[in-house]
């Protein structure tokens, strides 16, 4: 089993399964906070997907996208928490 096959048949499917589990929580989530956590985790797993994909295709330039995604995940969570706190004030 080469590294290519290992990542293609084991690592990426595990990440996909965890993405599906989180999607279930995102759709079900009782409060809006759970949905924000699920969204944050989905973007974080996207970074993992990009790392695996850059190993798979031997193209390291995909890692730049991972850096931008990390930035966007942080900014999105901060903005959502800010607006949740402001929403109750009225």
């Amino acid at each position: 089993m080469t590294l290519h096959e290992f990542i293609f048949y084991i690592v990426i499917p595990i990440l996909s399964i965890s993405m599906l589990l989180i999607l279930w929580r995102f759709l079900k989530g009782p409060s809006i906070v759970d949905r924000i956590i699920a969204l944050d985790l989905i973007i974080t797993i996207g970074i993992g997907f990009i790392a695996g994909y850059s190993i798979l295709t031997n193209r390291p330039s995909f890692l730049d996208v991972a850096m931008i995604l990390a930035l966007i995940a942080f900014l999105g969570t901060v903005a959502f928490s800010y607006y949740i706190q402001k929403r109750n004030k009225k």
């Binding site: 590294l3 084991i10 949740i84």
Partner: protein, 139 residues
């Protein structure tokens, strides 16, 4: 040799991310979900990125990978704290079996102020000191 190392690191990273997603589903409370996902997902992503760094073995890529890992390590606790704080203030309830609630009775929902007991004690002390100062010149 490097292939085996890359396989081990990427597999353990993927498994930690799977644990994080299982915890997100199984945990009974928003706060517990926050605590689970922050730690496990950060470790998993760090291991996956380290696998990429080991696979390419290039200085510029290793630098990039360590910049991403450092950024995630810095921002994950901050975003978890912010979202936990916002959810506590917006009235998300704790799990019924939770034991500790240190902020109970210290947060005023109408005025959105967070007070500790020490502030009120300090105010009482200052009032006493002022009263003493006022009483002295009279005698």
């Amino acid at each position: 040799m490097t292939d085996i190392l890359v396989a081990i690191f990427s597999l353990s990273g993927a498994i930690f991310i799977l644990f994080a997603s299982i915890g997100l589903i199984r945990m009974p409370d928003s706060y517990l979900r926050i605590s689970v996902t922050t730690k496990a997902a950060t470790l998993g992503i760090g291991l996956l990125l380290l696998a990429a760094a080991i696979h390419f073995q290039d200085f510029s890529i290793t630098t990039r990978v360590f910049a991403i890992i450092l950024f995630i390590l810095l921002t994950a606790p901050i975003s978890a704290h912010l979202i936990g704080r916002a959810s506590y203030f917006s009235g998300v309830k704790l799990w019924k079996h939770s034991i500790m609630n240190d902020l109970e009775g210290k947060y005023n929902k109408a005025t959105q102020e967070l007070k500790s007991e020490d502030v009120e004690e300090l105010k009482k002390r200052k009032k006493k000191e002022k009263d003493l100062i006022k009483k002295k010149p009279l005698k």
